[in-house]
């Protein structure tokens, strides 16, 4: 048995030394032994992080905070959240007897497959961020995902860290009777709204089916809700964020002021999740704040490339993420061009109809000069914008390299939005284009 692990570790080491990452070592391990994952002796602290949006950022923030608190921590920082990625992470960090050499493991897990890996990973902490409509052809309906997660947490006795402002997540409390539940919540602030056109899920009480009443919405269906019939939504959060100052990037929790790395509401939720984990572990929130202050979002999360003028790239995967990225883009003052890369490969989801659920009409404002549509479904994107009345500003350049070239030559600040499979290739193109200017 140890021999197979050794093979996997050697392969990892060779790939690692030659600068290649990826999940191949994990693929190999699971191919040689389907029970590979079950063999590891996990660290004392195992934090699993799942949800539709913000998994990678949240798990990186937690891992960094634990490191800051002096714990030797491993994590799948690039978001390789399927079993092959997790197998790679564990193999790379264990001794020859499958003992993981760390105080803590923070593992981002895919919300669609977490139910398969949950027991094998022996989590002590399970963080659930949010559930949004996402890639329905791959995911099936959201209801199915939630039920599967309820099923695996039914007998979970560890710490369950849940977003108390998402009815789809809060539901888990009702079935996880043995877990120690910790909720996080964000209070009313300057961006909270009493009406919304974004909330497509979470309209009804999961207990009785009656409509939920919202006091306010933060974004999508995240907000303060209540079922007046049975009290679903009445919560006592462990961590409540208040006094958000978006201009100065600060917020208050537990009577202490924290900084945020970016001034968006979803980032505040990520921070709230991190603080709840720290609290449940009895660790100093100061460690988290040091991370919040200096954390740099990477790999396509508000990543800046210095072309002729700065170009900011963001990953989008679903309507909620796209809506938030668009809100951010239009909040940045000044003229700008946009590049949207829409692919429909396996990891993007073959069904691109989600672009019609997202509010692309937000881009219809004079500071956005040209919108270049690119990727395998460039024309679908162009049509989406055409039917919002932006016909005269659309440019279709299917080839991503040529699209970036156009952006660079336009000599105007720009924003790039890319779906999953377009993200890494486009970042590589942007990096190459950047070299010209260094």
């Amino acid at each position: 048995m140890g021999l197979r692990l050794k093979v996997v570790q050697s392969v990892y080491s060779v790939l690692h030394k030659s600068g290649r990452g990826g999940s191949f070592p994990g693929v190999l391990g699971l191919k040689m032994d389907p029970h590979f994952l079950e063999k590891f002796q996990m660290p004392k602290i195992v934090v699993l992080v799942t949800g539709t949006n913000g998994k990678t950022t949240t798990s990186n923030l937690i891992a960094e905070s634990l490191r800051e608190a002096g714990l030797k921590t491993i994590n799948n920082r690039r978001g390789d959240n399927l079993n092959v990625g997790i197998a790679t992470l564990l193999a790379a960090n264990s001794d020859s007897h499958f003992r993981v050499q760390a105080d803590a493991a923070v593992i981002e897990v895919d919300e669609l497959t977490v139910y398969r890996q949950f027991a094998n990973l022996h989590p002590t902490h399970f963080v659930v961020n949010n559930f949004f409509r996402d890639q329905l052809d791959r995911a099936g309906e959201m209801e199915t995902i939630i039920r599967k997660i309820q099923e695996v947490t039914k007998d979970f006795e560890g710490h369950l860290i849940l977003n108390g402002d998402d009815p789809n997540v809060l539901r888990i409390c009702d079935t996880a009777k043995k877990a120690q539940i910790h909720l996080f919540s964000v209070g009313r602030n300057s961006i909270s709204e009493t009406v919304t056109n974004e909330a497509s899920e979470g309209k009804f009480c999961p207990r009785c089916g009656r409509p939920l009443k919202y006091e306010y919405y933060q974004y999508s269906h995240i907000g303060r809700f209540l079922c007046e019939a049975d009290g679903f939504g009445r919560i006592e959060p462990d961590v409540l964020v208040t006094d958000i100052d978006f201009a100065h990037r600060t917020f208050t929790a537990g009577g202490r002021i924290f900084s945020s790395f970016i001034n968006t509401i979803y980032a505040i939720y990520n921070c709230a999740a991190v603080l709840t984990v720290m609290k449940s572990l009895g660790l100093d929130p100061e460690c988290a704040d040091r991370v919040f202050r200096t954390f740099v979002l990477k790999e396509g999360r508000n990543e800046v490339f210095q072309l002729s003028r700065p170009s900011v790239i963001n990953l989008v995967k679903n309507p909620t993420g796209a809506n938030e990225v668009m809100k951010y883009i239009v909040s940045v003052p000044g003229d700008k061009n946009l590049l949207i890369l829409l692919n429909d490969n396996d990891q993007d989801g073959h069904d691109v109809s989600w672009i019609w659920d997202a509010h692309f009409e937000r881009l219809n404002q004079p500071e956005i000069k040209t919108i270049v549509c690119s990727g395998r479904r460039a024309y679908d994107m162009a049509l989406r914008l055409k039917y919002e009345g932006m016909e005269d500003r659309i440019k279709v350049i299917e080839d991503a390299e040529k699209a970036v070239e156009w952006l660079d030559e336009a000599n105007m600040p720009s924003h790039v939005i890319a779906t999953y499979t377009a993200l890494h290739s486009t970042r590589a193109i942007l990096r190459k284009a950047e070299q010209k200017w260094i």
Partner: protein
């Protein structure tokens, strides 16, 4: 000239971007100087369907579909009256199924449909949904043309008297019977999401004509620039190897 659309259960039956269909209808009417009014109607709301030229019902998740069913049933007579008054119908996925005889779910439970048409739908087992890109050939307004979309349904619809289209790629009404949707003079019912209309402007225009017919008789629609639409469709047809 104006066109009145009633978008049923817009807040519940709006899976897979089906609302894009209403945006296309609005755009293509207004480009021709036809005012387009899109009204919505949800559970418990009083609307007389006869007042509208087009009734639009999209698809929903199982749970939403159960929620609307009782309400829809109460409107059955009103829907019948609207049909008699020549209102046109566009029904997608769940909307399509609900207008048939019945729906039999995975546990064998039979849920009666509105029963306007003889087709019926039976659920397939969980692992065999019809999911993916679909290309079809249809004839509307005496013109035969190709259309593309995305299907995602477990239900297998059988006994369809007059299908909407012939399947060129994908599944359609069942895994493999080669037909897609249902169509008569007034009703177009289909499994095609995508949404259906943005990439298929000919279908959009045919629906507009059907809706306008109710109050204005035959109306000729001026051609629009469909370069982007055609390009988006051609790329998919080529990818599916329906077209060289």
């Amino acid at each position: 000239m104006d066109i009145k659309i009633l978008w049923m259960y817009h807040d519940l039956m709006d899976l897979y971007g089906d609302k894009g269909n209403t945006e296309v209808l609005r755009y293509r009417s207004e480009k021709r100087g036809i005012q387009c009014i899109v009204d919505t109607c949800t559970i418990g709301e009083e609307k007389d369907i006869r007042d509208y030229d087009l009734f639009f019902l999209g698809g929903g998740a199982d749970r939403e579909q159960q929620l609307i069913f009782d309400d829809l049933l109460k409107r059955k007579d009103n829907i019948r009256e609207a049909m008699d008054a020549k209102t046109a119908f566009l029904l997608i996925c769940g909307g399509y199924q609900l207008f048939g005889k019945y729906y039999k779910d995975q546990d064998g439970t039979v849920i009666d449909g509105l029963g306007f048409f003889d087709y019926y739908t039976e659920s397939s087992d969980r692992d065999h949904r019809c999911i993916g890109n679909i290309a079809v050939e249809t004839t509307m307004d005496n013109e035969t043309f190709q259309a593309v979309g995305f299907e995602n349904h477990g239900g297998q619809t059988r006994n369809v008297a007059s299908p909407f289209a012939r399947v060129l790629y994908g599944h359609g009404n069942t895994y493999s019977d080669g037909t897609e949707g249902f169509m008569n003079d007034q009703v177009l019912a289909t499994y095609m999401h995508g949404p259906l209309l943005p990439k298929n402007p000919r279908i959009a225009d045919a629906i507009l004509k059907r809706a306008l017919r109710k109050r204005y008789g035959e109306v000729a629609l001026a051609p629009l620039d469909d370069t982007l639409e055609d390009k988006a469709r051609e790329i998919m047809l080529k990818r599916l190897k329906v077209k060289k």
